[in-house]
Amino acid sequence: METPLTANIRPGREPLDIAAYRKNGGYRAVQKALRSMAPEEVTGAVKDANLKGRGGAGFDAGQKWSLVPMGGNAHRPKYLVVNADEMEPGSFKDRLLMEGDPHQLIEGAILAAYAIQADAAFIFLRWEYRLAAGLLKQAIAGAYRSGFLGRNVLGSGYSLELNLHISGGRYMCGEETGMLNAIEGRRANPRSKPPYPQASGLWGKPTVVNNVETICNIPHIVNNGAGWFRGLSRTGEGGTKIYGASGRVRSPGAWELPMGTTLREILEEHAGGMQAGYRLRGLLPGGASTDFLTPAHLDVKMDFGSVETAGSRLGTGTVIVLDNRSCPVGMVLNLERFFARESCGWCTPCWGGLQFVAQLLTGIEAGQGRMEDIGLLERLAGMLAPGHTYCALAPGAAEPLASALRFFRDDFERHIREKRCPWRDA
């Protein structure tokens, strides 16, 4: 089994410096692309690779790039933004990639920027990733010194400036248009689309935003080709995926596995199954803003299409496990409090709706709920669904809520009937 993304990552040890990275074949893809491939060829290879964006929505990376205006008439400067915000609760995969192999991300960013002919690129990193910040700063300096960044990269005539932007801290910064505002020094409220960032992004100029893991795949696609990349996967969606698991499993962690690996394999083989004394009740397949799945879904293949068919979303691919000794209502309350706190307040259904949801759930969890609260929560979840709000935070908040009301309805009703949380005194 090939694991290109983590091949250089040695747990508990410092990442490769630029010399060691290059010895392992690093920056060869930049040399290849800048010397022998037109930008459109790089985009073409990524398209053929069927690389779905790893930030959560699964948008086709090559297709996104092909929407950027090219040629002499295109507005300039153009920008690439690497989304390294990783604030989706339950997600820790981008941390692994940045702490483990920072040069891989830099190399991928150079290639992506070249493909869209960006003049400047930003890595937008959350402040809390202090280790990654130091490593990336060092890696960027090394890449400049070796001529992979700056003016006239490797004598190709292509120039690129790359800067690290450290976030002020807010979940909304991860939303791509909120991120553009954050980089411009504003509040991270989202922008209405269209226009899409590819046409009008940072300072009104063409901009592509891609997730860290998406970008880390690019050097391998350029080096080894689209066919090879598709062959890494067990399904039609190309590549490997960094999956993870947290909660009461024996060995929580993150692993690079073929795209389309089943939930069962991730949880039983890699996470080692449940801890002694705990049973699996449910799970969120890819972060806080995905619908619950149940033990009946363990054979679902973890790719974007299959998880959607199963009624949820792959999201970030880091699984959050609900065990039988944790209260499902308490878990949903924790999730909705997070969303309520992080809502930017731009649209009423989101801001007001989430406050109300959190209030109702607090009541139920405290044993003060009424049966009609369940219907009310269902209606609120409908109000938060796609189409009613500016950005995907509200729909994301609706997903675990609506699915919990479906799968754990008995538990909600029991709280209300017994006027207490059955888990509290247990």
């Binding site: 997600s91 809390e128 450290i166 807010r170 509040r187 496990v321 944790s326 308490g330």
Partner: protein, 154 residues
């Protein structure tokens, strides 16, 4: 007002952007690193230096969780209260921290040593429950090790 060193650092940060205002968040953090928090006179200083309205800058400062508009202790503790840590009993951890320090979340100890804040997911969910103190991540907090960890921060 801003010191010369602060101005110099802010100018260096601003070089990354085509527009000066873009350095607003960097500037607020530069001030905060030196002063611990962002007082009103720093808002005035930065807004003048970056040529943006003070009210807008204040709006930016208050939007972000990690920009402090009120004084904090010498050390800031961020205890993760998001879902994976919750599943690993982070509420007990927060209670315990609160007990040891004698403050509620959001408060600073009387000796000005610690400020205790809840935090969204710190991206270390596989090592839950976790917290950060200043720039250090502390993981797998089972309750036993907390006193020892706190001792390291004077």
């Amino acid at each position: 007002m801003l010191s010369d060193e602060e101005k110099e650092e802010i100018n260096a940060a601003a070089a990354a952007y085509p527009v000066r205002q873009a350095a607003a968040i960097d500037a607020l953090r530069i001030v905060q690193r030196r002063r611990g928090w962002v007082p009103d006179e720093a808002i005035a200083g930065v807004s003048e230096f970056l040529k943006m309205p003070a009210a807008e800058l204040d709006g930016v400062a208050s939007f972000y969780n990690l920009i402090f508009r009120r004084p904090v202790g010498r050390h800031v503790i961020l205890v993760c209260d998001s879902v994976s840590c919750w599943l690993m009993k982070s509420d007990r951890l927060l209670e315990r921290m609160s007990g040891i320090l004698g403050v509620e979340t959001g408060q600073t100890t009387a000796d000005g040593r610690f400020t205790l804040l809840p935090s969204v997911c710190l991206g270390a969910c596989d090592r839950a429950p976790v917290m950060m103190i200043d720039e250090d991540l502390h993981t797998d907090l089972d309750g036993e090790n907390i006193d020892k960890i706190l001792e390291r921060y004077e």
